[in-house]
Amino acid sequence: MDDISLLFDRAHSFLGEVATSSGAMRRIVLTADGEHLLEAHLKDWQSRGVPVLREVTGHAEVFFQERIQVRQPEFLDAVQQWIENHGMALISVRPEVFGCWDLIVRLPIEPRERFLLLVSLRGSTPTDLKDCNAALIEAIGAADTERGNAEKAVAKLWNSAAKQLVAQFAK
C-alpha cells in the first residue's frame, strides 16, 4: 500500500497529496491551488529530479545542490525538505487518518480548521479515530441538511419570480 502525505501552504490551504512507496514517488495529485503553485516545479522534478541542498563534509557553511530522481527511495525526504524550505508543510498520514481527511475536505469549515483537525487526528488512537470518523459523517450530514434548506429556499424564490413574469406577460 502507498504511503500518503498531504501538502498545505502557509494559509493552511490544501494543495494536494503525495503518494510514495518505500520513499519513491508513485503519484502526486494537486488541487487547483496546488497546480498553480507547484505544477512547474513538479514538471522539473519529473524531468530533472528534486533539488536538495547537501553540506560539504567537514565544511558546515559550504553546500552543493543534488538532484533526487522521483523513483529513488530518497524522493520523499527530498520533497519534504524542498516543501519546508518553500514555506509549506508535507504531513504524512496513516491510511485510517487519510480516510478521515476525505471526510474533512467535505466540511464547509475554514482551511485552518481542516488543517488542525488533521494534525489532531494524526495522534489519535484507533478507537478515537473510529469515533472521529462517525462524528465527521454526522457533521457532513448536518451541513448538507442546511445546504438543502438553502437550495429549497432559492428554488422557491425562482419559482415565485417565474410566476410574476408569467403573470406580467399573460395580460
Binding site: R27, G87, I109, L117, R122, D128, A142, E146, A162
Partner: protein, 115 residues
Amino acid sequence: MGIDLCGRGWSSPETQEAPVDVRHVNALQSSLARTPGGERVPAGSICDKARSVAPEAEAIERKGERLAARAARKVLETRLSSLKDFPIPEASDFEERLKTAPVAGSDGHARKTYG
C-alpha cells in the same frame, strides 16, 4: 438584448447593464419551464428578472453556507470534545513552522494527477 457567452453570462449591449450569471438565468428558465405560460416570456425579460433576483438568491446561498458551517462545527465540538485524547498534540508545532515560512496560496480540492 444580446447574449454574451464568454463565461460572463448574458448582457444587454443597449443599456450597458452588468452581465448576469448564467447560473441564475438557467434557474429562472427551469422554473419558467415548469410554469404554465412560461414559454411566452421573452428572453430579454428573463435576463432582466434574473439580474434583479440574483442578489437575493446569492444572499440565501451565503446564509446557507454559514448555517452549514455552523451546523458542522456544532456537531464536531459536541462529538470530539468527548474523546479522551483529542485535541491537539502537534498543531502548535506545525503552526509555528508555517508562520516562519515565505509562501502562500488558497483553497481547493485534489484534481490533477502526476506520476
